[in-house]
Symmetry: C2
């Protein structure tokens, strides 16, 4: 039975140059809207969280159209089709897309994608689409791994980092993750097959890199920025590639704030190594999406990569779930299951 009303989270304030807080979001009631021509009504089962969502709220010029104050908070999710007025979708089918933080979104069918058979919605949101394409394409097209390369990943226990490490192992790399805390580090080596992990909270990153990478770092996959980026730049191998994929250490600060972490002084080591520092933004690689999707679906079905999301419960916890990303709390992809 489809109810006539639903809950949704709307954006109340823009978190510009500061961390997220409770009052940035407001829970509101809204009617459930029957799908019209080309639309699909979905029951949201899982929401998926990404650091970029904060920049959307900030109305930053990057990535996507600005979010309105009072508008529904955007965000990826997955669920089941309840009613469809789009020829490609039928009731009961499992879909993902930018559902927004709503229990029963009504969405243009063209913005939805079907979950491949044999794959759980949670696994799809962890390993396919946004996170998966980012991990696969940033590593393969920018990092360009060669078997035997030493691959170092910061934010290694995050959604992207934990997947990059697994793909790096499949590409024949020696994989070293940098993460915060002994639990995350043990998870990387014991559960995900990383060769080693560095706990940046209790260990000296530069000294550990010297021990673990005597021949230097061939690929650095950076999700963090700040002091960790600077430390790894000091250990680059000749001809190495630095992939700038994220900068979680920066997202709570205004670019002009004195608290914004410094730029990496060791950038100049690219001269002595001929190294390359390159940024990755997914929309630039659209033509490679089919390659990424088919490799990832194949590896997931064969059990060669594991989906290990970090799952919270309850629609009312959506703001908490998003905040966990900036507090370093999530281990793997942050998801939220709704209890309908």
């Amino acid at each position: 039975m489809t109810p006539s009303a639903q809950r949704q989270w709307v954006v109340a304030e823009r978190p510009v140059g500061r961390p997220l807080k409770d009052s940035d979001f407001q829970l509101a009631d809204a009617p459930v809207i029957a799908p019209r021509d080309g639309e699909v009504l979905v029951q949201t089962q899982v929401l998926s969280f990404d650091p970029a969502q904060k920049s959307w709220m900030e109305n930053a010029a990057n990535y996507r159209a600005p979010v309105q104050i009072g508008g529904v908070m955007p965000g990826s999710g997955g669920g089941v089709v309840v009613a469809s007025a789009h020829p490609d979708f039928a009731a009961g089918e499992r879909v993902v897309g930018d559902l927004g933080w709503r229990e029963y979104p009504t969405i243009a069918g063209g913005h939805l994608q079907r979950v491949p058979s044999g794959i759980a919605v949670e696994a799809a949101l962890s390993v396919l689409w946004g996170t998966g394409r980012t991990a696969y394409l940033a590593l393969m097209k920018v990092g360009k791994p060669v078997a035997g390369d030493t691959l170092v990943i910061s934010g290694a226990a995050g959604a992207t980092g934990s997947l990059v490490g697994q793909i790096g192992k499949l590409a024949g790399c020696r994989v070293i993750g940098i993460a915060g805390g002994p639990e995350k580090c043990a998870w990387l080596t014991d559960e995900l097959g990383f060769d080693a992990a560095i706990d940046y909270r209790s260990e000296k990153v530069r000294a550990r890199l010297r021990e673990l990478c005597p021949g230097g770092v061939d690929i650095f996959f950076d999700n963090v920025g700040g002091e960790i980026l600077n430390d790894v730049l000091a250990r680059l191998a000749v001809g190495s590639r630095v992939v700038i994929c994220g900068g979680i250490s920066r997202y709570n600060f205004d670019p002009r704030s004195p608290e914004m972490p410094e730029g990496p002084r060791n950038y100049f080591n690219v001269v002595f190594t001929g190294a390359t520092i390159q940024g990755f933004l997914m929309p630039h690689y659209e033509r490679d999406f089919p390659e990424a999707d088919s490799r990832l679906v194949g590896w997931l079905r064969e059990g060669r990569i594991k989906a290990r999301p970090d799952v919270l419960q309850g629609f009312e916890s959506a703001p908490v779930a998003l905040r966990r990303l900036f507090e370093g709390k999530n281990r793997g992809k942050q998801l939220l299951q709704l209890d309908h």
Copy 2:
């Protein structure tokens, strides 16, 4: 007549983490040594100066073998063969090489190169070998210019920058130089054919770049680092290339000194643009030297690039000439003519 004694400059102190000073060098007398098997005796006519010479004195691990305290100061120069015990060289021929700061070096012939006919020794030292190969290869192989690109150069009135701009024009780029002072800026546009120049001492670099590069910067050729690098990173075009060739703002500081200029906070813009930051070190491009040499000699002979060195007089001024590089005083390649 070859004299039996000569003057030479030796290294007295290592200028680690500080500017050069007079007492870092000592003028000394030495015998002139007759060439033995395979050696050539040269009368030095011109010395040539490069910022890397300071790092050699510091005994930094980069570029080349360390310099001994009390040893002759190394450095490129050109002159005339006075006596030869090497089959490839005859008295009267014009040669260049790492002559060191000596009036009459005796050198293994294998370390010398002949100056191409029709080219002055001063022009050869300005536009060929070290400076020329750096400018040509860093621009062409790392910057990868495409006709119509907007090329911005820092340290544009320096030896490398002033040549990069001329090569950029030949490659069809719109060329904008950043330099210190109105004289240097006028020299770039009026004498060397740059399309525009920004005086970083009196103008706001970021605002001027916004005016001059409405479509963003396609190639940034950086010889400076510091705040200028940070400003240009804010204006990168999608798919742009940043060539890190030098960092003159950094060379007077120890890497760990608090006075060392900050790293570029705007490095993160590579994410939104997919831009590449890559370092250039000449030894990595050895196989491309013949290409660089033949293009540069051709252009110089055809008058398509101009050698406009900054020439001091007198062997006793060698330390002053080197210091000018770090004081932003030279306009074009810094040379010193000896008055024999």
